[in-house]
Point group: C2
Chain length 295, copies 2
């Protein structure tokens, strides 16, 4: 059997969490049941698919939330941003799209929000309700267990907060739902956190990984397996890998290949991303030229 | 998004490899196309299911084989066992069931086997053919790309070698295929490596893990989330975890709950495993009794 890759601490990594699913974009249209109105039409709710259900189910698992909360860079950055904008949150109404355990909603309550609507379609919302109660914030934080596309929060909000980012920022991200919420529930001039997002790219190298996974096949317990090397290279370069690397692995300054302005982006813009970019090596190569003299 | 659990070295673990699938047991019956015979009837080949196909596909991935080979305990133990039994392998005919990259087959060739039939239904068998060629063993090692239940190796063998073990030894293991191969291809008195397997159980503890995953919820960035603790405990105790632990985590001497004699086990015995067992704590508890005197 295979052991799944023990690390130096003697315990195996947890299974990789499933990727976050997309929710589809909404079309523009009037919501059902409404008569003529002078308000800007907002998107009709897209249908809830089996894919969506699997996505929500994945997020009901406690381990996913434990990992996200333990991502200190992520969680503390949101906390800092919320506190930094306290003047725009205190006394205001907030909407948390995909609230999970309710952590961002509670940060907003701590920052003085009058009311926070915490929305999540996953069963984790049930836990969020308990957490809100435990922190005696039931008068401020209202947890709604359902899709943002379906819930009725009955008032426009001053602030939308959401941790929506997916792999490579946009792949399978929740941004479509944030756009929906923005168009349906955010007051004109309202605040969105985060307001902008940028996707950077840079070529990298990892000699150690290459050695471990490609050169490894040259000699395996005295058996030559170099015929595996082409396949090993193909897998090494073709498969996506979600990881943290060090600066020394990065070969050039990163370049922005996509920028999202959460105030203006439209769902259709998320369907494809195309960018041209150029990288300039930070390494210098010494070229030695010379002439040979034949006597 | 979630990062999948960065470890202290700054890189994330690889995705967990899919579990090995079962191949189903074979029924007893004559193979098609054969007339009356005096030989012992052997199992008819069970059908190849979609599940089997997915299983084979999973094993075509190079990473799985890299991990198994890098499991030094596993691979070197097989090598040592093969060399230890060199007198029973040298000059003999061997069958490797589920050969993968062909490592065990080549060890047998190094030990002097006259011929080794290396069988694997996964596409990794194509790589195995290249590896055999690279090591100039094409005259000794014959790689057959197909299920052991389907291939015709045309002669009975003296030795069967296989690395068939699954999670908890038997869950989703390949043992059914080894049984099939034994009954169809092994000469009377032939050698099977491994010949026996034992499944041990012991209660364990892991205070650090409990602290990290359960007590963690008491205070999360200043937010009380102890309402998550029951769910956290449930997940911690109910979910299987494949890992390496240290001796200090083990609370009693391990007890054997299942033993397999590969020479005699039948496929039907694998369908359920039932065992009674008793554990005796290695910890001593000091009980202090006393009386209180009230003046």
């Amino acid at each position: 059997m295979f052991t799944g890759g023990a690390d130096g601490n003697g315990h195996l990594p947890r299974p990789r969490r499933p990727r976050r699913g997309g929710h589809g974009g909404g079309g523009i249209g009037s919501p059902p049941g409404q008569g003529p109105s002078t308000v800007q039409p907002y998107p009709a709710a897209p249908p809830c698919t089996d894919y969506d259900m699997a996505y929500f189910k994945a997020y009901s698992h406690i381990g996913v939330h434990e990992e996200m909360l333990k991502d200190h860079v992520r969680t503390s950055t949101y906390r800092n941003a919320i506190m930094h904008h306290q003047d725009l949150i205190s006394g205001k109404v907030v909407l948390d799209v995909g609230c999970g355990t309710g952590v961002l909603s509670i940060f907003c309550a701590f920052a003085g929000a009058t009311r926070v609507y915490a929305v999540d379609a996953s069963d984790i919302a049930i836990q969020a309700m308990e957490i809100v109660r435990e922190n005696e914030l039931s008068d401020k934080v209202v947890v709604l267990h359902g899709r943002i596309e379906d819930v009725n929060i009955e008032e426009k909000v001053d602030v939308i907060v959401s941790e929506w980012m997916g792999y490579m920022l946009l792949y399978e991200s929740m941004l479509g739902s944030v756009i929906f919420a923005r168009d349906k529930w955010l007051k004109p001039g309202g605040l969105i956190l985060p307001s902008h997002a940028s996707l950077y790219m840079a070529p990298i190298t990892n000699s150690q990984r290459y050695h471990d996974s490609v050169y490894f096949w040259r000699d395996v317990y005295g058996i030559k397996m170099s015929s595996m090397m082409p396949l090993a290279k193909q897998c090494a370069f073709m498969e996506p890998s979600v990881e943290t690397i060090s600066g020394e692995n990065v070969l050039t300054w990163p370049t922005v290949v996509s920028q999202v302005d959460c105030y203006t982006i439209q769902a259709q813009e998320l369907e494809t991303i195309t960018a041209t970019f150029k990288f300039t090596s930070m390494l210098q190569v010494l070229v030695i030229s010379g002439t040979s003299k034949n006597p």
